[in-house]
């Protein structure tokens, strides 16, 4: 019933839009900002496919309202690769470890990993794998994803050493 004007940063670019109060952040990113890398798997907060970064934190975009992101800094999977198309280390690791098949859950997992990779002090392997409990994958059986988690945790440990 209420419409709201919001201004936020998405993948480094300022965006202004008008949204309904009930418009979810996930829907707004997909239809308002054209970022269909944000996947809506369940829309009730259990699958993790819709995960994006809001002010550096991995959140389920289906459980936030677009209006709540007014003033926020949002990053989606589209914002991770370099301007020349080069892959973010997390994306590269997912590719190297064959950690995706259909790819539906993948952007969400990548966003969780990217948040962890940017966390200081670097999370342990246990913490990294524990963060995966918020994601569901129907295709891979998770082993490739777990290899990525261990790889990223090891890289983080190296940086710490």
């Amino acid at each position: 019933m209420s419409d709201h004007s919001i201004s936020l940063t998405i993948n480094g670019r300022p965006v202004t839009a008008t949204v309904e109060g009930r418009h979810s952040l996930g829907d707004f990113l997909r239809t308002g900002a054209g970022l269909t890398g944000v996947h809506l798997g369940c829309e009730h907060g259990v699958c993790g496919a819709c995960t994006v970064l809001v002010d550096g934190r991995a959140v389920r975009s289906c459980l936030m309202l677009a209006v709540q992101a007014d003033g926020a800094d949002v990053i989606t999977v589209e914002g991770l690769s370099g301007p020349d198309g080069s892959l973010h280390p997390v994306q590269q690791a997912m590719r190297d470890e064959d950690a995706l098949q259909c790819g539906f859950c993948t952007p969400g997992i990548i966003m969780t990993f990217s948040a962890l990779a940017a966390t200081s002090p670097a999370p342990s392997e246990d913490e990294t794998i524990a963060a995966l409990s918020g994601h569901v994958c129907r295709c891979t059986g998770y082993q490739g994803i777990r290899r990525v988690a261990r790889k990223l945790a090891a890289a983080g440990a190296e940086d710490r050493a």
């Binding site: 019933m1 209420s2 709201h4 309904e20 109060g21 009930r22 979810s24 829907d27 829309e43 009730h44 907060g45 993790g48 995960t51 934190r57 991995a58 959140v59 389920r60 289906c62 459980l63 936030m64 309202l65 209006v67 709540q68 969780t112 524990a130 963060a131 409990s133 918020g134």
Partner: protein
Amino acid sequence: MKPAPFDFFAPTSVEEACAILADLGNAAAVLAGGQTLMPLLNLRMSQPLAIVDINRIAELRGVRLSADTVRIGSTTRQRDALNDASLAAALPAFNRALSHVGHYQTRNRGTIGGSVALGEPAAEMPATAVALDAMIEARSVRGTRTIAARDFYLGPYMTALEPDEILTGISYPTWPERHLVLFREVAQRPGDFALVGFVGALAVEDGRIARVGIAWLGMGPTPIAARQAEQALLGCPVGQVNARAVAELAIADTSPFDDRHASAHYRRSVGLRIFEQGLRDTLEIRNLAA
């Protein structure tokens, strides 16, 4: 799978939020972390005419430690509370329980007050508030009041909070520096709702249990204070605690029900075992440290 239309408000003060709730009462829902309310909205299981987002109210955020009390502002994010080192030092039982709440992603938005206010019978934060004798602050246009956690939970998802009240903070009494933590939880997967669990704290003085607070999760329509077990433990020399007998007393206060995740029988059997083991392990740690 989209919410029904509503009017959205994002007040920047508690007064403003209370005024809106006074106006709208049951037609409005308070939105904090959204990890519970948003699924209900998305599935249209809840269709409020208005949403009052309290995330922009600065005074509701933050942890304040004093000599006697730890006060947690209701919109403090679970993740921030979990990473707060001085909070972990002051209330290790709270920190331990909080690490089992939801998932990494839900803790980034979910709030302490949201979980306490929801009153999910199998949740860790309500049980922790009961175990640690927390005081819950509620505010409305009619004023401020505090409600003891042990009086707060009336039934599943039913609390003493009035429709026009906002939970503004939760205050926990502090414990002696070297006190002990009691915690066990059984869940099918990490992050799932507990099937059965308990949380508590215990302080030893001159070899006797001087202070104890324990509550169950998933063992009834609300968190359940293990009063008989607490009474049995108080004053008991640490070396003379009969963990099995105390566990039986702890179970005696519960009223678990059958649901699709576990039967009442399962909950009682497993509860008995984990309580006995948990109590023994905690006291043995203490004996090793002494």
